[in-house]
Symmetry: C2
Subunit: 294 residues, 2 copies
């Protein structure tokens, strides 16, 4: 609560506007904001957001209704905005509103094209031209960042180090191209690279590859980090108890994330599952060339 | 047949040894060798190789029986060896022969670890220490290489150029790390990156992502090339009629491969399906920085 003492009275009277996609993180965020003594207003994206967001002041809005999202955020007197949670790739900006396409406001930013970061930057830039301030979830819940070191009771073994380094190397070169936040490496061999399917689907694929005998070796690591130079206000990588369960189901030994750059959803749940399933979860600092600092 | 005039009589009397994994390419290769007036001897890998290889002099051998493979190649008086076709990731080199693991010969090379290239280089290096000469399929069937330009009647549009360039860029940076030969890009967005699952599985994933609405935009390209600095004697990328069908099913517009560096299986079948399904298939020369030369 002490951080709020630095905020002006005006900011304190304005609810944090949360544009919420799927997953539990938007719910955790609302809870954390309320706990800190501030108010929230949620634009819950239809088809994505968790129904538990009904417990907070909210409106359900379709993702393509950019104009209505802005209208509601203004009506609620929001100034600071957090965009958080999973959404499917935005609809084709060339479709018309009548055919389920975006309204003019949404089309304006969707037609920017490019990678995730470019789309989200366009959305944030557009919101800022309207006087909103777009901030990252980690600025509100910094305690949810995964710090350097082990999170649970298990730690990596010397045999994991080269796989961790290779994972960071792959994500380093891809991140420079605004691609991928997660990779699975085992015995020097890159088993899977995340793109549009997301981390959970990638982990399920690794489990299938092992079940089908395409990959025989056991062990390996999930490495996750933001893209290099990524705007940390959105699309920040997240892990949680389900990530740990999928990592275990894929026969991997652990998870390593870029320390202080990846959010943890439900830390207690994550630690419990990691400890139970013999999975190490660690923050680490990759060196500038993409390798983990030794 | 003219190329054989340059070969010594000794080479002509020795059959080409083919260590055959899955897919139709080993069969095409046998056919091409016979047509050229030379003999073949096939080590057909059990569980992988096509039954049609029974039409050629052959032995069925398990992939982990490295010693037997070498024995048979020697008995057949082979000197030049081609390793071709898909195999699942080799078994864990630390398993014992009794538990289904490799024999001593196979373990010696499998325990080298690392990426695909490192494993296959180790196998080739080992064969060469025994006096064999490991050559690439493209040295025997150069007419199956995809040249610069369009293969069928369709060609890319200006709208595809940036996706093609991005695909080559991604494969360039990954290839330097001995990872990935194929990527799918649409509208500047990387939809999928191939790792252990292979190109076909990656294309099926893209079809699912579109069906599930994770990706809404239509179009996009499959870009395929060898890894940078890859030893072209093995694991050469291949496309065929099935690739075209999967590309069409994934809603993509075409395929671009690194000219003269990717093999075509069943060229006539590929052209027929590409023309029917409105898919462009082209060879292109990426510039050194991974971008396509304009």
């Amino acid at each position: 609560m002490s951080t709020n003492k630095h905020k002006s009275d005006e900011q304190q009277s304005q609810p944090i506007g949360i544009i919420a996609g799927g997953g539990r993180l938007p719910v955790s965020l609302c809870e954390a904001v309320i706990k800190s003594g501030k108010d929230v207003f949620v634009c819950a994206l239809e088809g994505f957001a968790d129904p538990d967001l009904n417990n907070y002041p909210h409106r359900w809005i379709e993702i393509q209704s950019g104009g209505e999202i802005i209208e509601q955020l203004k009506l609620a007197n929001c100034r600071q905005i957090v965009m958080i949670g999973n959404v499917k790739r935005p609809i084709d900006g060339t479709q018309t509103p009548d055919s389920g396409g975006p309204d003019n406001t949404a089309a304006q930013v969707l037609n920017a094209g490019g990678g995730d970061d470019q789309i989200l930057s366009a959305v944030a830039g557009f919101l800022e031209t309207l006087g909103f301030s777009v901030i990252g979830a980690h600025e509100i819940i910094p305690e949810n960042l995964i710090a350097n070191g082990a999170v649970g009771k298990h730690v990596h073994t010397p045999g994991n180090i080269s796989d961790i380094a290779k994972g960071f190397e792959v994500l380093h070169v891809l991140g420079n191209l605004d691609v991928s936040q997660a990779v699975v490496v085992c015995g020097g061999y890159v088993l899977a690279i995340e793109a549009a399917e997301g981390t959970d689907e990638m982990l399920k694929r690794v489990a299938r590859l092992r079940k089908d005998g395409v990959v025989h070796k056991t062990g390996g690591v999930l490495v996750k980090r933001p893209k290099c130079g990524q705007d940390m206000r959105f699309d920040m990588p997240v892990i949680g108890p389900v990530t740990v369960e999928l990592v275990a189901a894929a026969g991997l030994s652990g998870i390593v994330v870029h320390a202080d750059n990846v959010l943890c959803h439900d830390r207690q749940g994550l630690i419990k599952r990691a400890d139970e399933l013999d999975i190490f979860v660690e923050g680490a600092i990759p060196s500038t060339n993409g390798k983990v600092a030794s």
